[in-house]
């Protein structure tokens, strides 16, 4: 019965989305303002129902209800509870239901929290949100029903892909999805503003916290995903330029550009059309990413052609939503007046540069991700585009971008003087030059990109705090601290990336128990290989001690796990974290002479990559909270003033 209840809740939510859309459009076109009062409650009810539907699916997974096909294919009763729960979204149908649930909750959140937007714009926004929801409800109900029954009912399920049985899966997809789908709010806002010709600072101020919120989650999701891939795959890499990773990076790039341009719109009433465009592009990238990951087109263009139902469905939705929004943009862009002007050397100028460079990176990633599909589709030839392409093409642009990031916050709005900027930024520039000089002098192995990255990081780290210079620290607004923290986070991440790619030391050996290997400042000794058993796996575990140069001993245990239910092996790398880096040990196969392969990396300062990511997200959070607090305070003051008039 639970499955049926879930399905009914989903149908009802879909019906409410219809109702929401109808109420909004009738109210708007026929001037029936009384309909508007019903829109908020309907949006909230829709969000609640779709959440209920999702929770019921989670409940089915917890109970291991093998009468539901999805549970059979993706779960097994003998599995830790946390992986039963996370298994709900470790598959196609479940993850799409999560996607849609977040879409519904986003609409409800607008209904509950949005207080600053003009009424007609708000109603149009909720209409757009409902319109998007309808398409994806249809997709779920027609093409991928998560509540389908299995017949006959098997005794047990087939289990979850062991690679996904990790705490990473419990956290990474929901975080990422909240970010991904949260961008739908910006998209709907843009549609609402375009239809009602309501593009201006007030609109931007209303949109900004939503963009920040989605962006914070997206940043955290990408950071968590990167760390997960790093320790779970056992390849020692933290970013593989895999199409699935790019699918999450592209919305992030667009959202990053958006949250900078929306500030220009809010503060200076500039970049109106451009901000609308970015809001549309950001969520379009989310949908394209969903299409890439969910349609099977990445596995093979042919697989997509053989079973085209799902892929074509999402593709049709993409065409409707992206095409529709772009058409609306083309129709209305002529009537959007360009806002106030600025000189090239000004805060606005630097933000335009930020936007253009981020868009350029987005374009490069987009081309590299889709190029193999296009080539295969047209010529049948198979090519792969990997790290060499992406690093070569995005690296230089990214370096210019971060250099401008250091200078931008030090510029005045509207116009400034190059000389004044040079004065303000002289210390960071000097630091960068000094770092570059020292690195060229003392290192030999660094690539140009890492060399420049590390030197720039030194300058940026200092420059990010420069906006506080000669300011009253207590009266500096919270969002300024947010910006400082986020920009500092970029410097931190940059240090981690450059250091990891330049100074990593690697050893690959075949060791018999008792052998000792030296890697950098570490003496790594293999003691024994022992069998182990977990809840749904068996493993061979290596007992390894690692001794640091200062004499401290650590014990680590890399494993090779066998999952009988899925007949799959995974290797569990052992990670040892010190403040100055990580020791990464992977256990391989054994040979006839009883030797075991060990792969050992010493990765100095690698953790700074993810620390930087977390700092960036924290900065966004601080900015969002600061902006919201200020908005609430201003509204209270206004209401108070109105009471006394």
């Amino acid at each position: 019965m639970i499955a049926e209840a879930g399905l009914i809740a989903l149908w009802l939510a879909a019906a409410l989305a219809f109702l929401q859309f109808a109420l909004c459009t009738i109210g708007l076109t026929k001037g029936q303002d009384q309909f508007f009062a019903a829109v908020r409650p309907v949006a909230i009810a829709q969000g609640v129902l779709v959440t209920v539907s999702f929770l019921l699916l989670v409940w089915l997974f917890i109970r291991s209800d093998m009468s539901v096909q999805l549970v059979v294919s993706n779960s097994v009763s003998m599995k830790p509870l946390i992986y039963k729960i996370s298994g709900t979204w470790g598959n196609h149908e479940g993850s799409m239901l999560l996607w849609v649930a977040i879409l519904g909750v986003a609409g409800a959140a607008i209904g509950v929290f949005e207080r600053t937007l003009k009424l007609r714009t708000l109603v149009t926004t909720l209409a757009a949100q409902a319109f998007i929801s309808i398409g994806f409800y249809a997709y779920l109900l027609i093409a991928s029903n998560p509540f389908e029954r299995s017949f006959p009912v098997p005794e047990d399920g087939q289990g979850l892909n062991p690679l996904l049985q990790d705490i990473g899966l419990a956290l990474h997809p929901p975080t990422l999805y909240i970010g991904y789908v949260g961008l739908s709010i910006a998209f709907s806002f843009a549609v609402g503003a375009m239809i009602n010709r309501d593009v201006g600072p007030d609109f931007a101020k209303a949109m900004r916290p939503w963009v920040l919120g989605a962006w914070v989650f997206l940043t955290l999701g990408i950071t968590a995903g990167s760390y997960w891939a790093y320790y779970e795959l056992g390849w020692g890499g933290w970013w593989f330029w895999d199409p699935v990773e790019n699918a999450s990076l592209m919305p992030w790039l667009a959202a990053t550009a958006l949250l900078h341009s929306v500030t220009v719109l809010a503060t200076r009433d500039g970049l109106r059309a451009w901000t609308l465009m970015l809001a549309v592009v950001a969520f379009s990238m989310s949908m394209i990413g969903t299409f890439l990951v969910r349609s099977g087109v990445l596995t093979s263009v042919h697989a997509f052609a053989v079973d085209p139902e799902r892929g074509s469905f999402i593709l049709a939705l993409l065409a409707i939503y992206i095409g529709g929004a772009m058409a609306l943009f083309a129709l209305r862009v002529g009537t959007v007046k360009e806002g106030s002007q600025f000189e090239p050397i000004s805060r606005e100028g630097s933000l335009v540069a930020n936007n253009l460079l981020l868009s350029a990176i987005l374009g490069i990633v987009f081309i590299g991700t889709l190029y193999p599909l296009v080539v295969e589709g047209f010529t049948g030839e198979m090519i792969s585009v990997g790290a060499p392409y992406f690093n070569l093409a995005t690296g230089p642009v990214a370096l210019i971008l971060v250099a401008i990031m250091a200078a931008g916050p030090l510029l005045r709005w509207r116009r400034d003087k190059a000389k004044a900027l040079l004065n303000r930024i002289s210390i960071p520039v000097f630091l960068t030059a000094a770092a570059l000089f020292a690195l060229v002098l003392f290192t030999t192995t660094m690539s140009v990109l890492s060399l420049l990255g590390l030197s720039l990081a030194a300058g940026i780290a200092v420059a990010s705090f420069a906006p506080l210079w000669k300011r009253n620290l207590r009266r500096t607004p919270m969002h300024t601290y947010g910006m400082i923290l986020a920009h500092f986070g970029v410097a931190v991440a940059l240090v981690g990336m450059a250091s990891e790619s330049s100074f990593t030391e690697e050893k690959l050996v075949a060791a018999t128990p008792g052998d000792e290997v030296t890697v950098n400042d570490w003496k790594v000794k293999l003691h024994a290989i022992e069998p182990m058993a977990g809840p749904n796996w068996t493993a061979l575990e290596a007992r390894v001690t690692a001794q640091y140069a200062n004499g401290t001993n650590y014990e680590i245990t890399p494993q090779n796990r066998m999952f009988p239910a899925a007949q799959t092996q995974t290797s569990e790398a052992a990670l040892l974290t010190r403040w100055n880096g990580q020791l990464y040990v992977v256990l391989g196969d054994s040979d006839e002479q009883g030797r075991w392969q060990l792969r050992i990396w010493w990765k100095p300062f690698v953790t700074m990559i993810w620390l930087g990511g977390v700092l960036i997200a924290l900065g966004g959070l601080l900015a969002m909270v600061g902006r919201l607090r200020r908005a609430v305070r201003q509204r209270k003051q206004r209401e108070y003033a109105e009471e006394w008039i």
Partner: protein
């Protein structure tokens, strides 16, 4: 710098007409910049793609038209039965990849993927040496019993098959 040098911004100095002209001018500049950025990105992407995209080869492709030694390529096929030899150092492995018609010897130094066994499908990134041996930097084998690297779909996987029917009967 200097874009608007001789026309200072501000309503005090200009008429309404001039302001409008300047607004148009600024919008045009921004559009041009955006087009330039996109063009630049595309050119950079095209340049990088030309040098860095690696093409997929089967052993028969290599037999027909040998790619240049040192060029990054992707090789895919089946690991031939009885061909896997572990080197004396314990970390180098030699094997032969075939696709039913041709064969290609491969060497790889590193930990082989979990499901790398004789008769299984494999995709390797690397380059050919002058001697015609393929030196692999990375090996991708099947992750699990359901996953097949996309390049291997066209290849007949006869021989030792992985059981895909672990499903419930």
């Amino acid at each position: 710098m200097g874009l608007y040098r001789d026309a200072p911004i501000g309503t005090k100095s200009g008429t309404v007409e001039q302001e409008k002209m300047k607004a148009k001018h600024q919008r045009l500049t921004l559009v041009l910049l955006a087009v330039a950025a996109l063009l630049g990105a595309s050119l950079l992407a095209a340049y990088a793609l030309q040098g860095q995209a690696s093409y997929f080869y089967t052993p028969s492709d290599i037999a027909k038209k040998q790619p240049e030694a040192g060029q990054a390529i992707r090789l895919g096929g089946m690991v031939e039965e009885g061909s896997i030899q572990r080197g004396a150092d314990g970390v180098t492995v030699k094997f032969v990849v075939h696709d039913g018609t041709s064969k290609q010897p491969v060497t790889y130094t590193g930990i082989t993927p979990d499901l790398f066994v004789e008769g299984s499908g494999v995709v390797a990134d690397g380059k050919l040496t002058d001697g015609g041996v393929f030196v692999a930097d990375t090996l991708l084998a099947k992750h699990d019993e359901n996953y097949i690297p996309r390049e291997l779909e066209g290849i007949d996987m006869t021989g030792k098959q992985h059981k895909t029917e672990t499903l419930v009967q």
